[in-house]
Symmetry: C2
Subunit: 350 residues, 2 copies
């Protein structure tokens, strides 16, 4: 065990404050990572404030982690000291179930071990996330990060990136397809970049007319303002795939009308209730409302390699750890383009 | 034109009454059918009472039609006088769109022509359905019915049958799979029969403990009482496919928890709003809520042939046309096992 430092929240109603805690020593299959950057995911805020009624305190949030390997266990094969490495939402899983055997650890039938707000497998020890100076993770749950990428802008790929990349791949988005990305935030801006890089004709679907220029810069070929009934009607029945990144409950039916027959809209942002779904929205045209959660480790590595090849990173605003509570308040107002990333070097001043 | 007789409803609040009207003469590609039996579909009742706000009066309901061919046009190839024939929910479509070209006329992008409560293509002439003595339909929209089947019990195959057969085939239900049929009514009892005949392990999922014995008789291997939390928990994550035949708005989430990862629940009964869908119900396990509408003509013929081969028909209660209003009232109370069929010979006494 060694002493680690970070920021933690101690209850649903208190701010993040400096926190000291212990982490396990580097085991034979582990890598110890000095954390350089940690992205702020909307789910950090949900869990810090116990919005999902499953919070464990003290909680050190952060599951978009990029850093430098500072120690490797004796059996580690993929990493050496000095490598750049990433850790996402998961740090362990059962490894036995059909999902784990298919490299879909995020759907582990016994429940994967979350990077924070969980417990180490077979233990009461809480897991602590990326708002901290170091983390120790088994190499199977660590991905390699290419040195040619802007590291601070890589961090959000570990959650926002893989969450949008995985469904685009699963539903085989590619050239010749018209793909809509609904909602322009941390997830949506990555969805636009990936869908474009995969060769699709990309339509950014947003309620905000002001986001059009940004959408074009991110790679969108068109912008569809979803509050405009005429625009919705003009695009009816024309989409091959929709990626719905809206993080709060909303009406799915107007979007379902945009899909071609036999096509799918995948939800990735909303864990809570949507508004009522009309049966006719799926029955007429044999359409599907599906969902997708992050990605497995193999696919996360594939995404990282894809990003290195295509020069894809997130659009980020860097903050210091001392400003994390203010960043949460701005996130609540969608006042970020498009992801906050904490420069963990600032922790030295905490 | 010739004079036809049937029963019609003239407004949302009046009963079905005897009605005389004209039908077109038999064109070169048409067959004229003497109607022997007409099933009563729940949607007949919805449309008679304008529940979907799209009713056209006078309305002669009925889209589960079985009869005998009494005249064929000069270019008709599939039928000869004396053949048994069936007509379902559609009597025309555009024939040009991608759906029509793929034999999925039910998803015709210009909208198929319904057997009743619609208008003939390019005309203001209302279409009139099966609660009548004869019907004239282009042969493309007529299926052949094998003489070895019990004709009165064949009628519901034209809607309840194809509505359940098509999704079971589309989602490739077969041996080695555990399939749930939700709701035991006109659709559900056909879903059980087809899923069993396709080789699946079939679980009847119902709120009514009393339906267990019937489910077994229909071919179900197990019965799951969906109001019993312990039974739901015992079956969690175990189904390869769910066919949801419930005809009214309901909560989808408890059923979604029954599915394995990457599997689908198909809605076929509810055209109106469901209760709110939780994002987590599809995101965790990458599941899908889909829908399916009846079937195309080629698949309807395939189903008829499948039924002839496997000896599958509906469980019906035969009524006289004079009792149709009483049958509607009983249908509202689910007081039928499992489909009313009108013996159209009774029309001679009307």
């Amino acid at each position: 065990m060694f002493q680690a430092r970070g920021y933690a929240v101690h209850s649903a109603t208190t701010p993040l404050v400096p926190f000291s805690f212990t982490r396990r020593d580097t085991g034979p299959n582990d890598v110890r990572i000095e954390i350089l950057y940690a992205g702020i995911c909307h789910s950090d805020l949900h869990q810090a404030r116990n919005d999902w009624s499953n919070s464990l305190y003290p909680m050190v949030p952060g599951h978009e982690i990029v850093g430098r390997v500072v120690e490797v266990g004796s059996d580690v094969q993929k990493f050496k000291v000095g490598d750049y490495a990433g850790v996402g939402c998961l740090v362990d899983s059962c490894r036995q179930c059909s999902a784990c055997r298919e490299n879909l650890e995020q759907y582990c039938e016994e429940g994967p071990t979350p990077t924070y707000n969980g417990k180490e497998r077979g233990s009461e020890q809480l897991t602590f996330g990326g708002y901290s100076d170091q983390i120790v993770v088994e190499e199977r749950f660590v991905v390699k990060v290419a040195a040619n990428l802007d590291l601070k802008a890589v961090a959000p790929l570990l959650c926002a990136g893989i969450t949008t990349y995985s469904p685009l791949r699963h539903w085989k988005v590619g050239p010749g397809q018209k793909v809509g990305v609904i909602g322009l935030g941390g997830l949506g801006h990555m969805g636009v970049k990936f869908a474009k890089a995969l060769g699709a004709h990309v339509v950014m679907i947003t309620t905000s007319p002001g986001k059009g220029q940004d959408a074009a810069r991110l790679g969108a070929d068109e912008v569809l303002i979803s509050t405009d009934a005429a625009q919705l009607a003009a695009h009816a029945g024309s989409f091959d795939f929709l990626l719905d990144t809206i993080p709060v409950g909303h009406d799915l039916n107007p979007y379902m009308a945009l899909l071609k027959r036999d096509r799918t809209m995948a939800l990735v942002g909303v864990l809570t209730d949507t508004e009522p779904l009309a049966g006719v929205s799926v029955i007429i045209g044999r359409k599907s409302v599906a969902g997708s959660a992050i990605g497995g480790l193999a696919e996360t590595q594939e995404m990282m390699d894809f990003c290195a090849e295509h020069g894809i990173v997130s659009d980020v605003e860097v903050v210091q750890i001392q400003g994390v509570n203010e960043a949460y308040e701005r996130l609540l107002k969608n006042d970020v383009k498009y992801r906050f990333v904490i420069d963990m070097a600032s922790l030295a001043d905490a």
